[in-house]
């Protein structure tokens, strides 16, 4: 797992011919940890949530193309919430959750005809160790997940073929996500993207552990 591989993957994209490098992008994912409160220190009459009640896998996400929005995901409860970016300062003031791990997905963005590709590495903030390499593929003409399924699968096949030729250690895995579980509909939205990043991270961690 090194930057060399990332460079190779980028070359793979550029090898498609008309891929135009468009610039850098960055998405930040924060894994929160609940802050344990000391019941005696609170002066309010509001009920103090017991540590056991607080969700464990609370994720927060900033997407690269939506700087004004912040996404919260509770994976076990299958909830996703889109909020204004100012909610982060609110979180700081409330001090009910603390950021346990902050991960950055960053890299280059390419336009390949009607496809928008974002190839990037996953690094932990302040650590600079490469955790993984990921790619986001967006097919611009369609917004329906159902209608674009075949196109995306075909693209994945073409991509896998191109990557195999480079004989890199490791391969790209696409995890299918059931959006309906989270109450999302067929029309693709930034919330879908947020969920996909969350799944990506989970997948990444699962692979690292095994």
């Amino acid at each position: 797992m090194s930057s060399q591989i990332l460079a190779e993957v980028c070359q793979c994209v550029e090898g498609f011919g008309s891929a135009a490098k468009e610039g850098r992008w960055r998405t930040t994912l924060t894994i929160y940890r609940p802050v344990a409160r000391d019941p005696s220190s609170t002066a309010t009459s509001a009920p103090v949530p017991m540590p056991g009640d607080l969700p464990r896998d609370f994720l927060g996400l900033t997407l690269h193309d939506r700087p004004g929005a912040y996404f919260f995901i509770l994976r076990h409860h299958r909830l996703i919430l889109q909020a204004d970016a100012n909610v982060q300062s609110l979180m700081d003031k409330l001090q009910s959750y603390k950021a346990r791990v902050v991960l950055h997905f960053e890299g280059f963005q390419y336009q390949l005809g009607d496809f928008m590709l974002r190839v990037g590495k996953c690094v932990q903030s302040h650590a600079d160790t490469l955790r993984g390499i990921m790619m986001e593929v967006e097919y611009l003409p369609l917004s329906s997940i159902d209608k674009s399924r075949q196109i995306m699968e075909d693209f994945l096949d073409i991509w896998q073929d191109a990557v195999i030729k480079k004989s890199l250690p490791g391969q790209f895995i696409n995890v299918e996500l059931n959006f309906a579980d989270y109450g999302l509909q067929d029309q693709y939205t930034p919330q879908h993207t947020a969920l996909q990043y969350a799944t990506c991270i989970v997948q990444l961690m699962a692979t690292v552990r095994s």
Binding site: F16, G17, S18, Q82, L112, G113, D114, F115, L140, P141, L142, S143, S144, D146, K147, S148, Q150, I151, D154, F155, I158, Q185, D186, Q187, Y188, T189, P190, Q191
Partner: protein, 449 residues
Amino acid sequence: MMPQAQQTTSAVGALAAPQDPLESAGDATTEAPPKQVALAMERLTRAARVIADIRLGADRLLEALFMAADARDQSNSKAVEFILKEESSMRQHFQDLRALGRQLEDSGVLNGSLKSRGNSWGLHMPLVCPDGAVVAYAWKRQLAGQAGASAVDRTRKRMLASDIAEDAKFFIRIFGLALKAFTDQKRRFFPHLDDEVSGDGEIGIAKKRLNSQGLIMSQREELREKKSLSDILKDLEHEFPNARIFTYQRLDWLKRASLLSSSAIENSSDPLKEQILNHSSNTRFGSVNVAAADQAAVIELLVPSVFRAVVSLHPAGSTNPDAVSFFATDEGGNHIHARGLSVHHVFRHVTEHADKALQYFVCVDNNLSLSLLLRWICSHQTLFSKTCSKCDRLLVMDKSLALLLPPVHRAYQETTTTVSSQTESTPPTKAAHPDHISAYHIGCSADDC
């Protein structure tokens, strides 16, 4: 029985785009004052109209000749009267055109160096010019908009005028030949026309495909039932329940196009809002659909989540399509109209192919062209799911364009041949069900597709 007059396509469509820019800017030494420019423009417009009339007259004459050729005895005399009447009106038109030509010459718009330009009939064929309609229209607008003539504009005006003159000459020749051929056998019409006219090849091939008998039969069909716009749309709705079809007046469409741009951005996270938008526009224009079918100038074909096609009719309320364009369902903005281009490559290529299909349908069978076109458009509902009939894959990298595209070419010849053969076979089966229309990648297209 008087033969019905065929619809004429716009006169502007008759003018072709000259391929090489003239270097004769040096000819114009004096500045043309704006008044002369306006006068010249007006004369050019009149000339264009006269040519349209000539075309219409020529069509009518040919039709009458046809009818006379295989009609029964009682209609023969009527056909002869009709021909005589048309002949005198044609003579009048030609005299008008000559007069206009002389006026233009005198005002210095046409000059000798342009008249001697070579004969390139393949490019000047008035029946089909895939770009001609658009370019000439754009020029007219451009010229009209720039009252103060620059050297470039003067050159262009001269080119336009010389094209009109050459078109007129072409008509005179073809008319003379047609009359000569009539005194021989009827069958010698088409070879004559093909030799003269099919420089481009595509229309020649199209006419050769429909044998003369098929053409006579389809002409009979035309004359018997000329469907109205609302009939065509109703049939289409039955056949394609997925597609949503709306009609608009031209200005109404422009308003809707700008609404689309604002809604595309906001509604991406709110499908309920989009439903409301569609519903409200439907009810707002829904009553217009039924009531003002004679003013409908724009047809919108929406296959939800797949594409939006915009067809323009000219003149309003008729069944003559004159432009078509494809867009993504989420696309919005002022470029969403029948002559606009999508921002997405896939839809651009589909639109390019659709232009050819439109010209084919118009050429082959003018009265059925709208229903053929709309059915062909609806066959694109499988644009992102139907694999190529040749290589059996969906997404393929096109080497020359370096783009990943699904099969964007859908065959259009197949629709018409099965429609014409349908008139001969007795159980009236559905003609070329759109699921059976083959799709091809750009690189996989058969040569005659």
